[in-house]
């Protein structure tokens, strides 16, 4: 990218931020992913306002009503109802809370711990590095699904537990990426320049290294959020996540399992929600990663 001539009076921060938005909109995948993320968050946050019905309210007379596009369906229960007459659409909207809470909470924990330990391992090296990496590999070596299921089965059903489990078991990925990036950046010239200026080590870590980690970790975070949504769904399908009274996409699928042939929408609707959420976040992550890669961004000089 050419430099603006110093004589051209642009007078303000070049549209770094505005260029980001424009690029996002230009990529169909990225835009779709962003849309999904926004929709997901809105649904979760605004659930009481958006959901047409109380997700827990049963209406046995309207049990197993089909979605509005089939005969017998109506707009009152747009996506139909389940065997207890609860509105599927409302339950999906409230279910987004669970999925989002796990995704955001889990990633927040994993990112924070992974960042801190990855920084220490990568920058200080030596004994710290060896110890942290070994511990990391230990956690990584356990089959993820198995680990999560066993822990969940032991500590019992609660959203908080699930977030904690996912958060901690996902640390290794963030740690690895952080450490890798730090190793790469540690020897870069601008870090050397910072040392030459006399910047103390702590400041180098926080003010120089961390800002450059935002990109790769941000990308990773979106992918991990997508994974967590899927894993949570799996867990709640098995009844190991939130208590059955709280609607979650996974336990909705589980509940509709027996009547799949007769009343398919009860399972399919939440299934679609999971797919869309997971796919959307993956697309967002893809876009993010491509946007950060200098090679795919612009034509080389």
């Amino acid at each position: 990218m050419s430099a603006p001539a110093i004589d051209a009076d642009r007078g303000e921060v070049s549209g770094r931020v505005s260029r980001g938005w424009r690029a996002l909109l230009r990529s169909p995948g990225g835009a779709a992913g962003a849309l999904v993320f926004v929709a997901l968050t809105s649904m979760a946050v605004l659930a009481p306002l958006v959901a047409p019905h109380d997700p827990l309210q049963q209406n046995l007379r309207a049990a197993n009503s089909p979605p509005f596009w089939s005969d017998g369906g109506s707009w009152t229960y747009a996506l139909g109802t389940d065997s207890l007459g609860r509105d599927v659409l409302s339950r999906i909207i409230y279910g987004a809370r669970v999925s989002l809470a796990v995704a955001i909470g889990g990633v927040a924990i994993a990112l924070t711990l992974g960042l801190v330990f990855g920084l220490i391992a990568g920058y200080f090296g030596g004994r710290f590095d060896r110890f942290i990496v070994s511990a990391n590999d230990l956690v990584l070596s356990v089959p993820y699904t198995l680990l999560v299921i066993v822990i969940a089965a032991v500590v019992g059903n609660s959203l908080f537990n699930v977030i904690l489990i996912f958060g901690i078991t996902d640390v290794p990925v963030f740690l690895r990426v952080t450490r890798g990036e730090v190793l790469k950046l540690r020897d870069s010239t601008f870090i050397e320049a910072a040392r030459a200026v006399g910047v103390p080590r702590r400041r180098i870590l926080w003010a120089h290294l961390v800002p450059n980690l935002v990109g790769p970790l941000g990308t990773l975070a979106t992918f991990e959020m997508s994974s967590m949504i899927l894993y949570e769904a799996g867990l709640s399908f098995l009844g190991l996540s939130v208590p059955p009274s709280t609607p979650s996409w996974g336990n909705m699928i589980s509940a509709g399992r027996d009547s799949l042939e007769v009343y398919p929408w009860i399972s399919i609707a939440p299934g679609v929600a999971i797919i869309v959420a997971g796919l959307g976040l993956n697309l967002l992550g893809d876009w993010f990663r491509d946007a950060l890669d200098p090679r795919t961004r612009r034509v080389p000089r």
């Binding site: 050419s2 430099a3 603006p4 001539a5 004589d7 612009r298 034509v299 000089r301």
Partner: protein
């Protein structure tokens, strides 16, 4: 454009290259006319953003169509079997233009050599592909070539991987590959820029040697005026995607006519000629690829007047086998007529 009766080996007219990027079109090359005469060494001089490397890549068909729009009115190579139209990808393929007719040496040998294949094998592969030689013959030819480019102990070296060799040696390998099929033209893109000065001297000597030996016509792209003075018969100076001046080498150094050429020559320090302050060209190199309808150098030119900012100077012949694209006559100190 050229003196009558000279043997034109390579002729390019109105070469234009436009890159499609997310930030709009980048006009990297804006109407370049070039000719390479048989047996001569033409230096294509310019700084970053001048379009010199891109021109060559476009000429050789090495720019992917997805990314770059290349157009040329003429691109003719007088090959062994007649005139080849370089714009036609089929002809490029059939005549093995890249390799057999034109040898290309890129700037950075590290990225042009396959790190997982020995240099001997890469050489042998080239001659097998372009000349259809058998494995055995190709292998011995490879060793021969390594020796020809001055690599000591060529038989042993042939089994080295690129990373086991120094930068200078890798560049020699690149040259060996380029001349392996005895092309008539050698195009070298800043082959010595990344090398130490003593190694650079060796490479320049090598090319001079090969040139005389094999009767090569050489197109040498560089920004180093010292190398130009050493090697070139003729010089073409590029700025902002266009050629601003061409001249036989002595004329270019003794009597430069374009303000940019003059500025360049004055801004380089010369050993033994110490001045208090280096004179420098004001301002910055042009924005890459803006499509200007006026002289790209005008913002930095001390002689610029209204016409320079309004109209693109046409490239005209100024006698003595020289061309110039400038509205100002530096020798007369006044705008040019016509």
């Amino acid at each position: 454009m050229s003196a009558a009766g000279t043997d034109r080996l390579l002729e390019v007219r109105d070469l234009r290259v436009r890159f499609r990027t997310t930030e709009g079109a980048v006009h990297a090359v804006q109407g370049v006319d070039l000719e390479l005469r048989r047996g001569e060494t033409l230096a294509l001089v310019g700084e970053s953003g001048s379009g010199k490397s891109v021109s060559m890549l476009a000429l050789l068909g090495l720019l992917p169509a997805k990314v770059a729009e290349v157009s040329m009115t003429t691109a003719a190579l007088h090959g062994r079997a007649g005139i080849i139209d370089l714009r036609d990808p089929r002809q490029l393929r059939i005549h093995h233009v890249r390799g057999r007719e034109i040898g290309y040496v890129a700037q950075d040998p590290s990225s042009s050599l396959n790190p997982t294949v020995t240099v001997g094998e890469q050489l042998a592969e080239t001659v097998r592909h372009h000349l259809g030689l058998s494995r055995r013959v190709a292998r011995s030819r490879a060793v021969e070539l390594l020796e020809r480019v001055g690599i000591a102990d060529p038989a042993a070296r042939a089994d080295n991987y690129p990373h086991e060799m120094s930068g200078g040696m890798r560049q020699r390998v690149m040259i060996a590959i380029a001349i392996s099929c005895t092309p008539s033209v050698l195009i070298a893109d800043e082959p010595t820029t990344a090398l130490d000065v003593t190694v650079q001297a060796q490479i320049v000597d090598l090319v001079r040697d090969l040139r005389d030996d094999l009767g090569l016509s050489v197109l040498w792209i560089t920004h180093d005026l010292g190398v130009v003075a050493d090697l070139a018969d003729r010089v073409a100076v590029m700025y902002g995607g266009r050629i601003v001046e061409t001249s036989p080498v002595f004329g270019a150094f003794d009597r430069p006519l374009h303000p940019y050429t003059i500025g360049l020559l004055e801004s380089i320090p010369r050993l033994g000629r110490r001045r208090e302050r280096l004179s420098s060209i004001a301002g910055l190199p042009p924005e890459l690829g803006a499509d200007l309808a006026s002289c790209a150098f005008a913002p930095r030119c001390g002689h610029a007047f209204e016409r320079c900012h309004a109209q693109l100077p046409a490239e005209v012949a100024t006698g003595e086998d020289r061309t110039l694209a400038c509205w100002f006559d530096v020798e007369a100190g006044a705008p040019r007529h016509g």
